[in-house]
Amino acid sequence: MSQLSTRHLLGIKDITEQDIHTIFDTAQNFKEVINRPIKKVPSLRDITIANIFFENSTRTKLSFELAEKRLSADVVNFSSSNSSVKKGETLIDTVNNILSMKVDMVVMRHSSPGAAHFLSRNIKANIVNAGDGTHEHPTQALLDAYSIREKLGDVAGKKVAIIGDILHSRVALSNIFCLQKLGAEVMVCGPITLLPKHIASLGVKVEYDVQKALEWCDVANVLRIQLERQQIKYFPSLREYSLYYGINRKMLDRLDKEIVIMHPGPINRGVELNSDVADSEHSIILHQVENGVAVRMAVLYLLAGAK
């Protein structure tokens, strides 16, 4: 079994380019598996995985659960929209309680940046970060890059624009790290109040005009406006945002080339992306969802082998 350089997937920052290629190669095999009539393999039989979600999630949780079940793992789920601390129990206590039930791996989503790192220092199970606040969402970045590779043949040398709420996005950061490791050029674009002030220090281009970003890129990864993570106001209204930062069909028609449209979902239709773009031939949004299962199967399989 191919091994990764780490026993946890805490962030793309912490893995190597070789790890990413290993995950992609493994995901390729699993994608073939999940398209067979019998979609299940026994790879993780006798492995118990806990999906612990301290923030609301539908698709990521579903995708992980499906990946785990396709690998024949035993799955337990714990969801709480409030953080454990607010309930009077610490994160460590919550997780240790679950681990006492002999869990081998933990997939965790949490509102605090670094929560997965904290957990990895304090418990023995393998950890997969399914999103830690505004820090990283590594499996999303992996499936995004995998989808770009599948569509365009390679990630290296491609120009990818990440458009929208960069400040509150864990997807943006993981994508930046992943795409750069694979040799792509990255641009971020959005209202200046939704771009971290020092974002250029990560080696990305910065653009405030969406049309110009679309003209520059081969791939536009459009992010959801994270209203739930915006504790204060960053722009006047959703209407104004959709008028000046939303992407519609006319904007794509003005380009002299075809570009690929991506979105990590769930889409705020009519806000960051109009339906005539989201459902167009440019969009690979549903491929991203399918690849998500294969990539997560690969990550879980490889980490289980790293025990």
Partner: protein, 414 residues
């Protein structure tokens, strides 16, 4: 009983003196041994390789009693101060309830009357340090309080600061403030920069501190009075205070010792021990702070001792409390700066510098320390009730050996 300190090299702000012998007894205190008859029962202590200076003064130190004794109580604090080489310390008012009435002051005085180190009480300027209604300032002043502030919280309300600077002039009181604009620092977890961007954490921009310092200097120009900026951390803060001093304003400043030893890059693993306020910043900020110490803009180096119980730090980063231990690790920290700043300057910033801020004269105290002694900072040696320090469990260099204060002598570590 007399004690003879043989071959003791004294450091003061003017330099390191050649080693000579000193004698101490409780009746006459400390003096250089010059042809004096040595009592037959005098104890000799060989001080070769040790340094000594006037005892150290800390302008920012957290006490948890009353209310937060599980972090630090007065007994553990007293031990920490002595182990750290401090003969005088200003205690923050952020207890629960805050130190804000005459009886609170009497309580602290009674509890600390036998302390080896002299305790200076910072009285809360506003009730419960909420930045709104004033405490009974004159009543507190009559109980001996001359330093006022809301401690860990900034006096962000301009009107409160203005009136405080005016009101305190009746008794030459000093306003201590950790100035920053809370709205510009809102939700901030660390210094805003490349590291915070990479870690996906909300940053605290230098602007938050600089806007407040600039505003507060303007208020001071209008009111007169005495204003002391605590734990400054940015390039422009140093510049603003330098200019204010040049203009002749009664303004002073201090910097936290560990601000000079760590940077925002040290937060890369989300270590909650590195979560402090003000946040660790970058190398250019560090250089500006060192420059401020060298040219006299910054008057004092403080421990910024901020103990936290295990649960307050053993938690997700954004829920963790700010601060780290600073007393017993103070000398090992100073030693790390010795090459850049030199002993005379470092000693100035922990003796005459902070004394000047407080308006206090030099005393006859002495701290004797071994700059090369290696020791392990662990649960056996730690006097604090907390252990939130990135140095906990590590070997440190530099240990305080003896202290003399108010004609009393103690052995700290032998």
């Amino acid at each position: 009983m007399a004690i003879i300190f043989q071959s003791l090299a004294i450091i003061d702000p003017s330099g390191i003196k050649d080693p000579s012998d000193f004698i101490f007894d409780e009746q006459n205190g400390l003096r250089e041994l010059k042809g004096e008859n040595i009592p037959a029962d005098a104890v000799n202590i060989d001080c070769k390789g040790l340094y000594a200076s006037q005892g150290w003064v800390d302008l920012k130190c957290f006490n948890g009693e009353p209310g937060l004794e599980y972090k630090e109580d007065l007994e553990s604090l007293g031990q920490g101060l002595a182990k750290g080489g401090f003969v005088k310390a200003v205690l923050l008012p952020n207890t629960d309830p805050a130190i804000q009435t005459k009886s609170d002051v009497e309580f602290l005085k009674t509890r600390t009357k036998d302390f080896f180190s002299k305790i200076i009480i910072q009285g809360a300027l506003t009730k419960d340090t909420k930045g709104e209604d004033f405490t009974e300032i004159l009543d507190l002043a009559n109980s001996g309080v001359k330093v006022f502030g809301d401690g860990l919280k900034p006096l962000a309300n301009s009107d409160r600061l203005m009136k405080a600077l005016q009101y305190l002039q009746k008794f030459d009181g000093i306003v201590f403030d950790h100035s920053y604009d809370p709205l510009l620092a809102i939700f901030g977890q660390m210094h805003e920069g490349e590291a915070s961007t990479r870690l996906g954490m909300k940053g605290i921009p230098p602007l938050a501190e600089e806007v407040a310092i600039q505003k507060n200097i303007e208020i001071l120009k209008y009111t007169g009075g005495r204003l002391h900026f605590q734990t400054v951390s940015t390039i422009k803060s140093v510049k603003l205070i330098r200019e204010a001093k040049k203009e002749g304003l009664a303004v002073t400043a201090d910097v936290s010792l560990y601000q000079l030893l760590f940077s925002d890059e040290d937060l890369a693993t989300f270590d909650t021990n590195m979560k402090v306020k003000p946040p660790f910043r970058g190398e250019s900020e560090r250089e500006a702070l060192l420059g401020g110490l060298k040219d006299g803009t910054i008057d004092a180096i403080v421990s910024n001792h901020r103990p936290h119980d295990f649960d307050a730090k053993h938690i997700e980063f954004d829920f963790a409390g700010h601060g780290m231990l600073g007393l017993q690790t103070f000398l090992p920290g100073l030693i790390q700066l010795e090459k850049e700043l030199g002993w005379p300057l470092l000693i100035e910033k922990v003796t005459s510098g902070p004394n000047k801020v407080l308006g206090e004269s030099e005393d006859n105290s002495l701290v004797i320390f071994d700059p090369k002694k290696k020791w392990k900072f662990n649960s056996k040696t730690n006097t604090s009730k907390s252990n939130n320090s990135p140095w906990f469990g590590k070997e440190l260099t530099g240990q305080v050996k003896y202290l003399i204060n108010r004609n009393k002598y103690i052995k700290i570590n032998e």
